[in-house]
């Protein structure tokens, strides 16, 4: 800055008073001399205007907001005591998921692929037609939604009432059926006493094979043996002493067939 005198003030002095003048603290004779020098000096006049403009530019700058994590980072890097709080903050920042939401998420993960398939037009049309047919059928049969609601009533008092009503129906049914059963038993006894010599169709079988109640082994043996021509007679022959004495040979034939 050129240092020359203008209006009783040197440029060096003007430079020192420039800040005070811009701050508004320069008053009285100093202010008059300052203004006179600013008007007369070709170097200091523009300097005053530029300094004033620069000051207004800077005053227009606003404070910037520090990052939200700055304080936590500082505390963690200095004392380290805030790392726990930092972790807590990070944990709390994550959305808390309830067990219901987790269950819904897992179920939706299972259902979603199925739902994607079902949403295809052909499946949707099929389900629509099925629902329509079901609703028409129920309407024709006279089933009302109120009836279904009554069946699905799960209140404890209603369940108890249903239990007792069902029990009463069963008791009434048994009481009604008992005379009929007694009558049938009596008729059966009379028939048996009237025809004592008539052999029953199952009597001979039960005598031949007392321990067998299902008749399955006989049928099975018959099926197996009937598949070989050599023992066709044995399979169809009535069981007697001759057959019983040949049990060993029959078993050996069967075993041979299995290994062949």
């Amino acid at each position: 800055m050129p240092d020359h005198t203008s209006n009783g003030m040197q440029c060096h002095e003007f430079d020192l008073l420039l800040s005070d003048a811009l701050d508004g603290v320069l008053t009285g004779a100093d202010l008059d001399r300052f203004q006179a020098h600013a008007q007369g000096c070709t170097a200091c006049g523009p300097l005053f205007a530029e300094a004033e403009a620069g000051r207004s530019w800077l005053k227009g700058l606003t404070e910037v907001e520090p990052p939200a994590s700055l304080v936590n980072n500082i505390l963690a890097s200095t004392t380290g005591v805030d790392t726990q709080r930092l972790r807590t903050t990070v944990r709390s920042a994550q959305p808390q998921v309830s067990w219901l939401e987790r269950m819904q998420a897992s179920i939706s993960g299972f259902i979603e692929p199925v739902w994607e398939t079902v949403r295809q037009p052909r499946f949707a049309m099929s389900f629509g037609m099925a629902f329509f047919a079901l609703s028409v059928g129920l309407t024709v049969l006279g089933v009302k939604p109120g009836d279904v609601r009554g069946l699905l009533n799960l209140r404890p008092s209603d369940i108890r009432h249903t239990y007792y009503a069902t029990q009463a129906r069963v008791v009434r049914y048994v009481d009604n059926v008992r005379p009929v059963l007694q009558l049938q038993a009596a008729i059966h006894g009379v028939k048996r006493s009237l025809n004592p010599a008539e052999p029953g169709p199952t009597k001979s079988k039960s005598k031949d094979n007392k321990n067998d109640t299902t008749q399955q082994p006989d049928q099975k043996q018959e099926r197996n043996y009937s598949q070989t021509d050599n023992h066709l007679i044995l399979a169809s022959a009535p069981m007697g002493p001759s057959l019983l004495c040949c049990d060993l040979s029959v078993v050996s034939v069967t075993t041979h067939r299995r290994f062949v």
């Binding site: 430079d15 020192l16 420039l18 800040s19 300097l47 205007a49 530029e50 300094a51 004033e52 403009a53 620069g54 000051r55 530019w57 800077l58 005053k59 227009g60 700058l61 606003t62 404070e63 910037v64 520090p66 990052p67 700055l70 304080v71 980072n73 500082i74 505390l75 890097s77 200095t78 004392t79 005591v81 805030d82």
Partner: protein, 199 residues
């Protein structure tokens, strides 16, 4: 700005190991320090790193603070300024940074710094918006020499008085005033030329 006794008590509690006192100090001064670093370094990431470094240094040297020698905010600002100077030296920004005066005197043929500021706002209406203007001023501030930049930041952005600035910068008050005036004037010249080009 601060009650000396309250701050002194806070510092004593902090030295005694009171974590809550240290947290209160961090909560009180982090915004101020971050803004100084941001305006000086020019980048948010650098400002965040520098702010953390300032607090680390402050935490280690807190016992050296003597409230009878000066305000705590001056002490904090001095630490910040020293770290900024170190950072400036490390990043070699002084090779890229120049002032209008040196550009005119030493590089007569060189392009003026005002013309080096990128013209990012093509229409005059865009400059009306305060955010864009603020960004332009911030860029122009980064073009000032570090001595002028720190002086105007402490005075016009942090509202420190000349005595405190002189204490932080360790220069006489007259030098502080001169730097502030030159810094303001140079900034205005940079911005005027930028806007004149746009207009």
């Amino acid at each position: 700005m601060e009650d000396v006794q309250v701050v002194a008590m806070l510092v004593r509690r902090c030295i005694a190991g009171d974590a809550a006192a240290w947290e209160e100090i961090v909560q009180t001064y982090n915004r101020r320090i971050y803004n100084i670093c941001y305006r000086f370094a020019g980048s948010g990431d650098d400002a965040e790193d520098l702010t953390q470094e300032v607090f680390i240094k402050m935490y280690r040297t807190l016992s050296s603070y003597d409230h009878t020698k000066g305000a705590f905010v001056t002490w904090v600002t001095t630490i910040t300024r020293n770290l900024l100077v170190d950072h400036f030296r490390k990043t070699k920004q002084d090779r890229m940074t120049d002032s209008m005066d040196t550009a005119a005197s030493e590089h007569e043929d060189a392009q003026p710094l005002s013309e080096q500021i990128p013209d990012q706002k093509p229409t005059p209406d865009a400059h009306v918006r305060s955010r864009e203007v603020g960004e332009t001023v911030h860029q122009a501030l980064g073009k000032l020499s570090p001595e002028l930049r720190e002086a105007v930041i402490l005075r016009d952005l942090q509202d420190m008085d000349y005595k405190e600035i002189a204490s932080v910068l360790r220069v006489p008050e007259g030098t502080v005033k001169s730097r502030i005036n030159r810094g303001r004037a140079e900034l205005a010249r940079l911005l005027q030329r930028t806007y004149r080009q746009v207009m």
